[in-house]
Amino acid sequence: MMCLLSSCFDKQEKIIENAADISVGSYEMMAELTSPPNVPTPVGKRRAKKLIVKMEILEKESEMTDGVTYVYWTFGGTVPGSFIRTRVGDEVEFHLQNHPDNKLPHNIDLHAVTGPGGGAESSFVVPGHEKVFSFKTLNPGLYVYHCATAPVGMHIANGMYGLILVEPEGGLPIVDKEYYIMQGDFYTKGANGERGLQPFDMQKAVDEKADYVVFNGKVGALTGDNAITANVGETVRLFVGNGGPGLVSSFHVIGEIFDKVNIEGGDLINENVQTTLIPAGGAAIIEFRVDVPGSYILVDHSIFRAFNKGALGVLNVVGEEDKKIYSGEIRDDIYLPEGPGIQSMPTTNEIAASEIPAKSFEEQMEFGKQTYMQTCFACHQADGQGVPNAFPPLAKSDYLNADVDRAISAVVNGLTGEITVNGKKYNSVMTRQMLSSDEVANVMTYVYNSWGNSKKVVTKAMVDKVKSKK
């Protein structure tokens, strides 16, 4: 009986064709806002309501990557801003609050709004004030919101963007895991990795030469302890946006095929997608079932952005292996192509210019860790554990601890061919690294004094000695 009633009710609601005619009656609720990578509870079967959103703007200094900070302008204290989840027909009463400590006026343009400026004109608010405006969600989809105060590009470049989801009536199909990811490009006065508080660089932004391209506002927001997770057999839904301001994202998950993509966040669904394009100021809803345990790397497949500018995240999947779907390595045969095997990175003389040498062991460890996270981490991983069958471990590594000159040489000259580390064979290529002697000394000292290694201290002189042997 109960069931019958509710299905009748559902049918009745579906007759309404124009979303503008959906009544919210006197129903009212506070919107649940979440910071990335989390998303609020699905709307499910709830009716359209008056939804009150209170969004606070905060200008604050925060970490871009190890040793580098930046003054972010944020919606809700995070980059991207808080996730807003609504359904078609909701009447959103939007409170935009500009914190008194802020220096600048701001506003918000929500792409989910039908009306001039997307709310920007009605929400222009100076520090210490709050503006209220309201809109009705007419079209389902995943939409970007951002600040549109002059200079618009600068407000977006400093992190003022986020996503608002408008679910269709009855909600999106329920899945096991949902995450919120947003790409953005950042333009800093110093080059990528240059330490200290880095101011925004307008000229680089105009030229669209980004120093950092990252997911969720900083390097490492989705790696290590911050990685997102799922279990084998679960369906994962990613709400992925691109704040820009300058770059378009070629969003890809290494080792996964997207079962379903709502292209550009709209109704059109494409299936079996390898890489989906997410325009600046656009979004996509991505769904896939995870079948094989392991680490899946999220990247912008404009690939230097991933490995050199930070656009890299990790999805860790745990559960039973299925050898039918993925075998792992079966055999290791010899293949000898013509030509030299060593690749080298381009070298420049600018490397050492901005470096301040470490003054103590503690500084060597600190600077070394920064270099490690920027240069070595992608292959050798956060705790030096490496990646089985691909990249040898640095933690408790017999190969590393046996010969310090050989280890220095691997960093400054590169290393190729078969080696045995802790009883396992690796046959891979490590390119020579574009680091100054000081940086090599610091990073190697960090590695030797971490994860159960031999606690050697490597000096600049030792590095220079190995370099001069060449």
């Binding site: 008194p100 220096k103 600048l104 006026p105 004109e121 100076v126 101011p199």
Partner: protein, 262 residues
């Protein structure tokens, strides 16, 4: 201790400036003579050339201590007695009571949390007035050595950096270097009220404003404006456009100017 020494050095040097300048030009105490001219403002007033007549400008923004004296003399501007038409709820919100600052506040920090009405009356009670946008912008386009430094990347970068730094209003006046006119703190401390702050209509929808005032951009292009230059000025016009006369803000203070009587 160091703070005290700094303060005394600072006060002495300020004192010297006053003496030298009062002797040099015979002008009002704590004010500096600004020689008027015609110039092309960055944005606003149809971007035609505007004329600024000679005037005098306060060397420093009005301080908390000076404002305390003011409300003692003119009780109608005390926090509890002020008329709600002329101030909003945050008026002097950093004060303990009608006559005292909160302990966290410095007497020589610029006074903030004041409305346009209050600022205007303050200046008039001193026989002065608020500067116009044109006057303020005219003096503010100087850096330490040049009276129009707007095309210098260093000038613009410095201003933009300040716009990006939160909470600079806790600083005392006079900590930044003075500009070529001998005026301190136009940039780098607090926003400042101007007499006609709302004369440039910014709708809050900046992109539309750009469209509407397309000729403004052509105007700036003709003086070889860089993007940086536009951006810094844009931000000032944006904040002015967001204000109403009864608003008060943590980062908003003021200074006065005076006409020269011939």
């Amino acid at each position: 201790m160091i703070n005290n020494i700094m303060k005394s050095i600072f006060l002495k040097s300020v004192f010297l400036i006053f003496i030298i300048q009062s002797i040099g030009f015979g002008q009002t105490k704590n004010m500096v003579y600004i020689e008027g001219n015609r110039y092309l403002p960055l944005y606003g007033r149809d971007s035609t050339v505007v004329e600024v007549r000679d005037f005098e400008m306060d060397i420093f923004p009005v301080t908390n201590a000076e404002y305390v004296d003011f409300v003692k003399k003119y009780p109608k501007w005390q926090k509890s007695k002020s008329i709600k038409l002329f101030v909003d709820n945050s008026y002097l919100t950093n004060w303990k009571n009608d006559l005292e600052l909160k302990d966290s506040e410095q007497p020589n920090s610029p006074v903030t949390y004041v409305s346009w009405f209050a600022a205007k009356d303050y200046c008039e009670c001193q026989g002065k007035r608020l500067p116009t946008v044109d006057e303020w912008e005219y003096v503010a386009m100087a850096d330490e050595i040049t009276k129009d430094a707007r095309v210098k990347p260093s000038y613009n970068q410095q201003i933009l950096t300040w716009y990006e730094t939160p909470r600079s209003n806790k600083n005392a006046i006079g900590m930044n270097s003075k500009n070529a006119w001998g005026v301190y703190d136009l940039h780098g401390l607090v926003w400042e009220w101007t007499l006609d702050f709302n004369s440039v209509l910014i709708t809050g929808e900046s992109r539309k404003d750009g469209d509407k005032d397309a000729n403004l951009f052509c105007g700036s292009a003709s003086i070889n404006a860089t993007d940086l230059m536009n951006y810094a000025a844009f931000m000032r016009y944006a904040i002015r456009g967001g204000l109403k006369a009864k608003y008060s803000m943590k980062n908003l203070g003021f200074r006065c100017v005076k006409d020269i009587k011939n």
